[in-house]
């Protein structure tokens, strides 16, 4: 017998919980849903575009009635199916028409009710709220027959309603009790700019003004205020706020305060009863935006499935106004206090205003008006708690100012045309993303990646995709939770996985998966390579590498190319070669008919177009000429680029070539979270471009400058100066310690640049520069690990038949 689950409330939060539940435990429950609205489940946050005439109701349906049928869910919807009683002793709910349903578990998702201003006349025909499809229908109807609308409430909802009615041809006045619009999201300066641009569009304002009565006899005729003044109106929209709908819960004896009180597992005081959505009060907070509700849904589903490891710890939210052409963004605490600092830019002529509130070098809140292109970025920095001191002087100018290769978001999402390309890797244009978001009902970056492929390759357009999503979804945009799980196979984060591997001394991928209760039998292409690396890094001597959990490049020690052939890059220590090595390479290219021989960006020679079965032969011949694998394919040390340095250069201050060769000989073969590049320049002219490498060394007259965290790829990032040292031995010690810290603490597939931006340069300095003991210990661990790593994989495979099966067909047929 399946257990019975009853959901009261057919809205976004409740149904999302069911969707999450069906994903992880499809057969656990017989599910019954009660909804007071006569529809399937629709996207409430897109009601504003419906009112504005930009969308139809059909376009905002998330799950039509067929979905309930397909998933075996009993749906009772319509006014007469509103649940009026919960009998908790008999575990039964009763609807107003007498329909009943028994439950083993009950999920309350009763949402919220619009707040009705308690003034005489508030029940006159022509007075509406802005909450559901019915309200929108009433407003659309009224806009056809009437001319003058008054919207009470100058918050997010009120302005969206006002904008919609204006677009339907009505003359609209917004009445607000405060002297600033959207005072919960905007400070006075931004509120004033917003008012100005809405006025330019024809919206009228009457504020501050307190409504005392709605006047009219058989229909509304106007609004009266405290000072005795009156405004004519034949439609009045109340949009002054929402209240959690707790009436039913309260009546049933479930503990409520402002909302239904729920704990971190979304359970109410009755353990059989869960609650999610706007009706919930969690840690004193009630949320009216969709992103936190979806986070709650996920956690709740996890517990309903009896998995029991997820926890909801509250959300940070950001706001955007869904009024086309108005760019406004706010997040966090933008008022600040005596413990915070603020940075402000205001350019009233351009209609631009930007304020960032900082606390302990971390973003505490932000308000932007006119130019919100970096909103998603600031929000990300805020949620991640990123230390911004390293780029504080650029912070206000936005992410694109930090440098990127062209797709990082210097375009304004809202002003882009639908045919403009967003994702250069997969050729996805803006229109495709907008369409997927609205038609398929997508809310998260992951969903957009899955459905459109945008931002799923190099990731340089992620910021832009997020901007497009937030411009379409407004407050409904669901940013990724603070700490991302490794992949969809688990809810555990990278850091949790690494900690457990060390603490429990886990020595294989299946052990890790068992211990952490992975959802899939053997993971996926995302988590297996990560786990393999984490185990390798934690137990260099004991762990046995799992070839089947490596991407093909690392499995066969060559780079797969678009036609399924491979490319081979021999190591060229410090970029130095000899005539004999060049002859060997030329001979190999001739012998195996290699079509392309190319100099790479990292001072080496690439042999492109090698057939897989020829790889062992190519390697054997290169080995004979004294060359080993260049690991051009590895999440590990790639190259150490050098200039000619003191030996030849008239400006050279140190022997950078020798230093580069020495470092490469010591560090090659080590596996890392991502590719790792070094460079050594012989003087501050920096010909080896050391300041865009993961670890860069610049020689000066008195010694060496050590730079870290550079990147020349997707997003150009110049290095941060770690410190200055005087001896060669110090260069090595600091270099190994830095590499080891990165190996031990970065997430798999993090380059050093994003890792340092996340943990902060100060942290890295403290571990590497200030803590001498710690630095030496890191160095020791690196040296120890290298004992097991410096084996030429080509030699093993070419001469000792290691993994022979990789390179020969199983069988030739016909």
């Amino acid at each position: 017998m399946k257990e019975k689950l009853v959901l009261i409330g057919n809205g976004m939060a409740g149904v999302r919980t069911l969707e999450e539940l069906l994903k992880i435990a499809p057969d656990k429950y017989d599910i019954t849903v009660f909804g007071a609205e006569p529809y399937g489940n629709y996207n409430r946050i897109l009601l504003s575009p419906v009112l504005a005439g930009e969308k139809t109701i059909d376009q905002i349906m998330l799950n039509d009635k067929q979905w309930y049928v397909d998933n075996g869910i009993t749906l009772h919807c319509g006014k007469e199916k509103e649940v009026v009683q919960i009998d908790r002793r008999k575990r039964k709910v009763i609807a107003s028409d007498g329909t009943t349903a028994e439950y083993d578990f009950l999920l309350l998702a009763t949402g919220s009710n619009p707040f009705i201003v308690p003034v005489p006349g508030n029940d006159l025909p022509g007075v509406v709220t802005f909450r559901d499809i019915h309200d929108v229908d009433l407003m659309l109807e009224a806009s056809k027959q009437h001319q003058h609308a008054v919207v009470i409430g100058g918050g997010l909802l009120g302005l969206e309603a006002a904008n919609g009615l204006m677009l339907q041809g009505m003359s609209v006045t917004v009445v607000h009790i405060q002297d600033t619009l959207m005072e919960r999201q905007l400070d006075k300066a931004a509120g004033a700019l917003l008012r100005k641009s809405l006025e330019e569009r024809g919206m009228h304002f009457y504020m501050p003004a307190q409504t005392t009565a709605i006047i009219g006899e058989d229909r509304v005729r106007g609004v009266r205020f405290k000072d005795g003044s009156e405004l004519y109106a034949d439609l009045v929209v109340m949009a002054v706020g929402i209240r959690p709908n707790i009436e039913l819960a309260k009546k049933s004896g479930i503990h409520c305060e402002r909302g239904i009180v729920a704990n971190d597992t979304l359970q109410t005081f009755d353990p059989r009863v869960y609650a999610v959505g706007e009706c919930v009060q969690h840690r004193g907070q009630a949320y009216g935006l969709v992103a936190p509700l979806f986070e709650q849904a996920k956690v709740c589903a996890n517990h309903l499935a009896h998995l029991g490891y997820a926890r909801y710890q509250g959300s940070m939210t950001s706001t955007k106004l869904k009024v086309t052409g108005i760019d406004l963004f706010s997040a966090g605490d933008f008022t600040g206090d005596e413990t915070t600092e603020e940075i402000v830019i205001k350019d009233a002529a351009r209609g631009m205003y930007k304020k960032i509130v900082l606390k302990d070098n971390r973003i505490h809140g932000a308000v932007m008006y006119g130019d919100t292109v970096d909103g998603a970025w600031y929000f990300q920095l805020m949620r991640d708690g990123t230390d911004i001191s390293a780029f504080r002087d650029h912070l206000m100018f936005g992410e694109s100012h930090l440098g990127d290769a062209g797709h990082g978001g210097q375009n304004k999402a809202a002003s882009m045309s639908d045919s403009m390309e967003v994702c250069g890797c997969n050729g996805v244009c803006k229109g495709t993303i907008v369409k997927a978001v609205t038609e398929k009902g997508l809310f998260t970056l992951d969903e957009v990646r899955t459905h459109t492929k945008a931002s799923s390759s190099c990731g340089s357009c992620t910021g832009l995709v997020e901007q497009i999503m937030s411009s379409v979804l407004g407050g409904g945009y669901s940013a990724a939770p603070k700490e991302k799980p490794v992949c969809k196979c688990t809810d555990h984060t990278h850091d949790e996985v690494r900690k457990v591997i060390r603490q429990q001394h886990l020595l294989s991928i299946p052990d890790v998966m068992r211990y952490l209760e992975w959802r899939t039998p053997n993971g996926c292409h995302s988590c297996r390579p990560a786990l393999n690396y984490y185990l390798l890094c934690a137990w260099p001597a004991e762990y046995k590498d799992d070839a089947q959990s490596r991407f093909i490049n690392e499995r066969v020690h060559a780079n797969i190319q678009k036609d399924g052939t491979y490319s081979v890059v021999p190591r060229m220590w410090g970029g130095v070669t000899t005539p004999d090595e060049l002859r060997t390479i030329a001979d190999v290219a001739d012998k195996y008919k290699i079509p392309t021989v190319k100099v790479t960006g990292g001072q080496r020679i690439d042999l492109l177009g090698v057939k897989k079965e020829d790889l062992p032969g190519v390697w054997r011949d290169l080995n004979k000429g004294g060359m080993v694998s260049g690991h051009a394919y590895a999440k590990g040390l790639r190259t150490v680029k050098t200039c000619v340095g003191k030996e030849w250069c008239r400006f050279g201050t140190q022997d950078s070539t020798a230093m580069g060769i020495e470092l490469e000989k010591r560090t090659w073969g080590s596996w890392m979270p991502h590719k790792f590049k070094m460079a050594v320049s012989g003087c501050p002219r920096n010909c080896a471009e050391a300041t865009i490498k993961d670890f860069g060394i610049v020689a000066v007259e008195s010694g060496w400058e050590l730079h870290v965290g550079g990147n020349g790829g997707v997003k150009v990032r110049a290095t941060d100066l770690l410190c200055k040292v005087t001896t060669d031995a110090e260069v090595e010690e600091y270099c190994y310690a830095f590499i080891q810290l990165y190996r031990e603490e970065a997430h798999y597939l993090d380059r050093t640049a994003p890792w340092i931006e996340r943990v902060g340069l100060e942290y890295v300095k403290q571990r590497i520069v200030e803590d001498a003991e710690g630095r030496k210990a890191l160095r020791e661990r690196f040296v120890e690990s290298q004992k097991y790593a410096q084996v030429d994989p080509w030699e093993e495979r070419a001469s000792h038949d290691v993994e022979r099966h990789e390179f020969v067909p199983l069988k030739l047929v016909g």
Partner: protein
């Protein structure tokens, strides 16, 4: 009647890995799951022809090494939201011997 061709032993194929059978009608990738089930697909991703035999095998699926499309080993269809299909061949294991038929399965 199905013509079964003996192609090797189960042990010749690494667990969660694959081997290629070269035929006159193109390469066929033969996969072995963690549970020792064996499947055979045309060694070409419906997206851009990537060699599926070189991908990472997980559950009863394989991820193409070129652009991360995921395909069902059982019938060669792409996992949603991607859409596509690659040919699938009958394969069986008896007493550790793997046999393959070159007659494409219709799905």
């Amino acid at each position: 009647m199905t013509d079964w061709i003996e192609i090797g032993t189960l042990e010749d194929i690494p667990r969660l890995g694959s081997r290629v059978v070269r035929t006159t009608q193109g390469d066929i990738a033969v996969f072995r799951t963690a549970e020792d089930e064996v499947f055979a697909l045309n060694d070409s991703c419906p997206h851009k022809g990537g060699p599926l035999s070189q991908g990472i095998v997980h559950g009863k699926r394989v991820t193409c090494p070129l652009h991360n499309w995921v395909l069902e080993l059982s019938d060669g269809t792409a996992v949603a939201p991607d859409q596509g299909h690659t040919a699938c061949f009958p394969v069986k294991v008896e007493d550790g011997i793997v046999r393959l038929s070159l007659q494409r399965q219709h799905t």
